[in-house]
Subunit: 283 residues, 2 copies
């Protein structure tokens, strides 16, 4: 029986710390405020937005929404980005992506100030996580994984870690963050040969492939810690991760559930970044 | 007996291609020009500068030197960086580092335009190599390693690669470049446990630890390709790499010598970047 690394516990601990930070900021006359920029009405975006707003409401954080039609022009979107950049009362920005095809993602990302980029999408934030310098913010999901390891006292230092997936929103930045914590990291991906042998040699496995239940029993061995970043809707409407939980759980030492694992922590990290951004802006 | 991956062959091939590119640019009225910014008279800097100037002279590339005293102020250095940024007749810049302690490296790097950063030191270049987007340039030594592999027909795709060393000038960017070419990359470093076992499991080993002859026979096995990035002066005045060549060479399939390996290719890469920068500036 593996230890279940529940996101809820981690999120609650983060919320406790945030409450104190927030009170301290408000006592100093500063009200951290989040901006959400959305184009159109995609279901994914709306559901994510609801989750973020709910958390902000319960934490007492103000949210300003900037909603444009799905066919808004690049110039219109740029105007909004510039507006939030210049608004000193707005501390962090969530920009929902992917953007429609008629808009150049690189131009929009390039326009956003790294210090307001609490979701880690700008080149500045990428350089920050790569170079391990204080510039922008790392992607929230990557940081959520780090927060889970930290909460449960799992120190990556000196450990072999295999990260499956090399995306810019999770695999690559998380590999860097684990390396900055002195893990020996291997980045596996679609072109990796004999993937199960590469995950089996690791002490910590992060599954961020974006493929439902790709990792079955053959990927794991006893003693491992498994962080499952995937979240997918199955045909019967239930949710699953990148890992076949029923096969991995009996083998490994500890594993995050889906749902109730990484995803539960991610929205907390956004708020933590917002509070950090507000604090830095106040200095 | 291992195949010796000689840098000279690679450099000669690169120079041939560059000659054609340079002729084409000059025929169009464009004369690629390199700027070198140096503070003080450190032996390392002077010797590197001589090497670069020699290559530029023989290729017919103009060099402009900006030499400041070792105790120049940060403001003075910033003025020089702004001057080269604004000079449309100057296409790429080499800024010798480490800078003296009284100067904030991040401020200077932040001031240089990524499109003139042919040595890959700006945050823009770091984001470029991390995200695999066209922004700035990768560090020259990292690209020299890739050029050696390409020249000798060694395709990293699908191969296990261990990079020993995680510095921002070589280990980390090279790991990303190998990953972009579909290698399965492990980044090892000073906190890695049982380093010899981590290098033995790889098909390509890159030694970029910066420690003289750290990697002896126990680090290698037959069939491997070894790229030795280190270059160190021994007590007797001779040069050596990070690898104990006499122990590794009889075991492995192919290996770069020191001297005559990676270092020989690096200055060529600088010029290739300069020509690329000039071409992009002309568009």
């Amino acid at each position: 029986m593996a230890q279940i690394l529940k996101g809820k516990e981690v999120a609650e601990a983060l919320v406790e710390t945030m409450k104190k930070d927030l009170e301290a900021l408000k006592a100093g006359g500063l009200a951290p405020t989040l901006g959400i920029i959305r184009l159109g009405e995609r279901d994914d975006d709306l559901s994510y937005e609801r989750g973020v707003k709910k958390r902000c409401d319960s934490a007492g954080i103000a949210v300003r929404q900037y909603v444009l039609p799905a066919d808004a022009s690049q110039a219109q979107l740029l105007d909004v980005v510039r507006e939030v950049n210049n608004d000193r009362g707005l501390h962090g920005v969530l920009l929902f992506r992917p953007l429609p095809r008629h808009i150049d993602d690189a131009v929009i990302r390039g326009a956003l100030l790294p210090e307001k980029d609490i979701d880690g999408i700008t080149d500045g934030s990428l350089a920050g996580v790569f170079a391990n310098i204080s510039l922008g913010f790392p992607p929230c999901t990557a940081e959520a994984c780090m927060a889970i390891l930290a909460h449960y006292g799992i120190d990556p230092a000196g450990k072999r870690v295999t990260v499956v997936g090399r995306s810019l929103v999770i695999g690559r930045p998380l590999a860097m963050m684990l390396m900055h914590k002195n893990a020996t990291v291997t980045i596996a991906h679609t072109k990796t040969r004999d993937l199960p042998s590469v995950t089996r040699e690791a002490e910590i496995v992060v599954a961020a492939a974006g493929v439902p239940e790709i990792a079955g029993a053959e990927y794991f061995r006893e003693g491992q810690v498994v962080i499952d970043v995937g979240i997918h809707v199955k045909e019967d409407g239930s949710l699953c991760g990148d890992v076949k939980f029923s096969e991995a759980e009996p083998l490994v030492k500890a594993i995050t559930p889906v749902p109730g694992g990484v995803g539960t922590v991610t929205t907390c990290v956004i708020l933590r970044h917002l509070i950090e951004a507000a604090r830095k802006a106040a200095v």
